[in-house]
């Protein structure tokens, strides 16, 4: 097997779980992110566990100017790219502090557009491969508890939808992943209902299966599709009164 998966945001719990899932299937992995120490240790661990080639490469999502150079360094482009960089931020802070809002928007949306535009151009020319973007159910409808994060994720989902449309004739798969509650560092400290909360490993298994079978949009876990269907269709006059 000589396929490679590039993971952007490899230190996130979901990204790490996905990397493990693909490596377990014999894929070579490129782990990218800002924390070189953790990336190096993860790479060494995966090499021993799975016997695959694992590289660690620095990537700073918010340094837009570096994105082109980052992608150019790969003489052989990966088969697939996973964008798993996200930032929940503090909703209250974002409401009054533009800088916080800006980081939420750029991390979850702008940076993704920046790097994936670059990747898409090459994949389109090549005529194969896949791109996975981690969105969120929060992007399905803006709620008062996290709408700045949610709107950025919503933008990301629409971007991926358009990209999917454009790249269809080039046989490049674009998968939008919408996780609901997942037990990760991002949600540590939050009181999530246990029965609705997935582990990063469960999410990774769902993502792997969905990508391998050519899916377009994945809700993980599956029941979130139904939950969000209900939430989307709540009449506005009722929705505004809720404290979701």
């Amino acid at each position: 097997m000589d396929k490679t998966l590039l993971v952007l945001g490899a230190t996130s719990d979901i990204a790490r779980a996905v990397a493990h899932r693909y490596a377990g299937d014999g894929w070579n992995i490129i782990l990218s992110g800002r924390n070189s120490d953790v990336l190096k240790r993860d790479a060494a661990d995966m090499r021993i566990r799975y016997g695959v080639k694992v590289d660690d490469v620095h990537f700073d999502a918010l340094d837009f100017a570096s994105h082109y150079k980052f992608w150019s360094q790969f003489s052989e482009k990966p088969e697939g790219v996973l964008y798993a960089i996200g930032y929940l931020g503090d909703q209250k802070k974002s409401e009054s502090d533009w800088n916080e809002s800006r980081i939420v928007i750029e991390t979850n949306y702008s940076a993704a557009v920046s790097i994936l535009n670059i990747v898409a151009a090459d994949f389109e020319k090549r005529g194969s491969g896949f791109m996975i973007g981690i969105g969120s159910v929060a992007g399905d409808r803006g709620r008062m508890s996290n709408y700045i994060y949610g709107s950025a994720k919503a933008g990301f989902a629409v971007y991926l939808s358009g990209l999917r449309n454009r790249l269809y004739k080039s046989s490049v798969q674009v998968l939008t992943v919408k996780p609901g509650f997942v037990a990760t560092r991002m949600t540590e400290g939050m009181k999530l209902p246990a029965r609705l909360t997935a582990t990063p490993e469960q999410v990774a298994a769902d993502i792997f299966r969905a990508q391998q079978s050519g899916r377009q949009v994945l809700y993980t876990r599956w029941f979130w599709r139904l939950i969000m269907l209900a939430i989307i269709h709540l009449p506005g006059r009722l929705f505004v009164k809720l404290k979701l």
């Binding site: 240790r41 060494a44 661990d45 021993i48 566990r49």
Partner: protein, 453 residues
């Protein structure tokens, strides 16, 4: 704050939990200006009582990376949060096994060192620490020290069987053992009573693995009737020979591929009346008689041999919400026959039936100051927590002491400081190291406070 408990689900305590992913992150937790006292490292929480319970718990679950593996020496270097289960999943197919394993594979390497776990092969291989080349410990002041039998030896002997009280185990080097297959050649022998069981242990000490399940409810002439299980790692040709004859059952003659066991789960707490003496003695009767009357041998996958209970997730739920405690004692060889008879007499009498009772012959004592195993017989009894249980256990304590034995802290939730001190002559050496590396007792658990450590 979330509630945590040990495997026995008693006691439970509300604890502030933090995790860390790097040495620096841990250092900053340990050196925050506000004095954090009562911090205990915690792996997978498989100790039965309160060894990893405190108001503040530092979870090692994120420190679960493999660092390096040397194919020629079998030395694995890994972070403290890696579990034995992971090591087996990764390395058994590569013909390596863990040198010592406790009755569950869901313990971390750090936890295995902190409890200095022993296995069915103690009489041949000693405890876990014998196979640990070095340990990196983060002390209470944030400094990180490497210790081993030759470097910072007293810290090593205090950290192994140190119950997390010297600091957080960050990394360790463990020597794995090479094997030819994922299977165990198992021999089962019935013993009509305790004396016969002990004889069988002694006659079969050349077997690598040996353990006995003992019927604690049998009495009189049959007191201590048991089923002894002996095991050896099966050679590759033993496996292919056997599997080859099972027509159609298994096409792959792969000795290193274990049979995947189905996972059952106890989905909810059983009500307390389910495990009463009638039920238990009936079970014991059938279990004893199911084993062959004459010694029999067969090939089993390593999982059911080493981890019969891991196959039932949440088996601790069978004891219901009240929880249970395990009482594991060891008596010197010379006094074992009389001592065990006395213990069995006391436990078969009461209504608190011990469901699972395990008997094993240990080898020589290990070097860590608070290591539990010593040459003699060890008996493990489970007791559901009931009102009069603790009084019964105090009576057992007196018996254990009278026969020169001691209890295993990893299973305990109620042993007194006096009982502990009497059983562990090197406790002062341990406390000396504690004084040096953690004078303010920043690392402490409910158990360490009770035991006066």
């Amino acid at each position: 704050m979330p509630l945590i408990c040990g495997w026995g689900r008693h006691p439970t305590v509300s604890a502030e939990q933090s995790t860390f992913d790097s040495d620096e992150a841990l250092r900053s937790i340990l050196t925050t200006p506000r004095l954090i006292a009562g911090l205990i490292p915690r792996g997978l929480g498989r100790s039965y009582g309160d060894s990893s319970l405190s108001e503040r718990v530092i979870s090692t679950k994120r420190m679960n990376r493999l660092i390096s593996f040397d194919k020629t020496t079998g030395v694995l270097v890994c972070e403290g949060g890696v579990s034995i289960a992971e090591v087996l999943d990764i390395f058994v197919p590569r013909a390596w096994f863990v040198p010592v394993t406790p009755g569950t594979k869901y313990v971390t390497i750090g936890g295995a060192i902190a409890s200095d776990v022993h296995g069915k092969n103690h009489h041949r291989s000693g405890s876990f620490s014998n196979h640990v080349l070095w340990v990196d410990v983060a002390l209470s002041d944030g400094s990180i020290v490497r210790c081993s039998q030759s470097e910072n030896r007293d810290l090593f002997l205090a950290t192994c069987a140190g119950y997390g009280l010297t600091g957080v185990i960050l990394r360790a080097a463990v020597r794995l053992v090479s094997v030819e297959s994922a299977f165990i050649r198992q021999r089962t022998i019935r013993a009509h009573n305790l004396e016969e069981a002990m004889t069988i242990f002694e006659e079969n000490s050349s077997w690598t693995y040996s353990v006995a399940w003992i019927d604690t409810l049998s009495s009189g002439r049959e007191a201590g009737r048991s089923v002894i299980m002996l095991g050896e790692h099966a050679k590759a040709e033993e496996v292919t020979r056997v599997r080859g004859t099972r027509a159609g059952k298994s096409s792959a003659h792969e000795p290193l591929v274990p049979r995947k066991s189905r996972r059952l789960s106890v989905p909810f707490d059983l009500p307390s009346f389910v495990l009463n003496s009638l039920v238990v003695s009936t079970f014991n009767y059938f279990y004893y008689h199911k084993s062959p009357r004459l010694a029999g041998e067969k090939l089993v996958s390593y999982e059911p041999f080493f981890y019969p209970l891991d196959g039932i997730l949440n088996w601790n739920r069978i004891y219901g919400r009240r929880g249970f405690t395990q009482y594991q004692l060891v008596l010197p060889k010379e006094s074992s026959k009389e001592g065990l008879k006395e213990v069995l007499r006391l436990t078969s009498g009461h209504g608190n039936s011990s469901f699972l009772a395990v008997l094993k012959l240990f080898g020589k004592e290990d070097s860590p100051y608070l290591s539990f195993a010593r040459e003699g017989y060890t008996l493990s009894l489970d007791f559901p927590i009931t009102k009069d249980l603790f009084q019964q256990l105090d009576e057992l304590d007196a018996v254990v002491l009278a026969y020169g034995g001691r209890l295993y802290a990893t299973k305990d939730c109620r042993m007194s400081a006096g009982m502990f001190r009497s059983g562990y002559p090197e406790v002062d050496k341990f406390i000396e190291v504690r004084e040096r590396v953690d004078p303010d007792r920043r690392f402490a658990s409910l158990q360490s406070r009770r035991l006066g450590l």
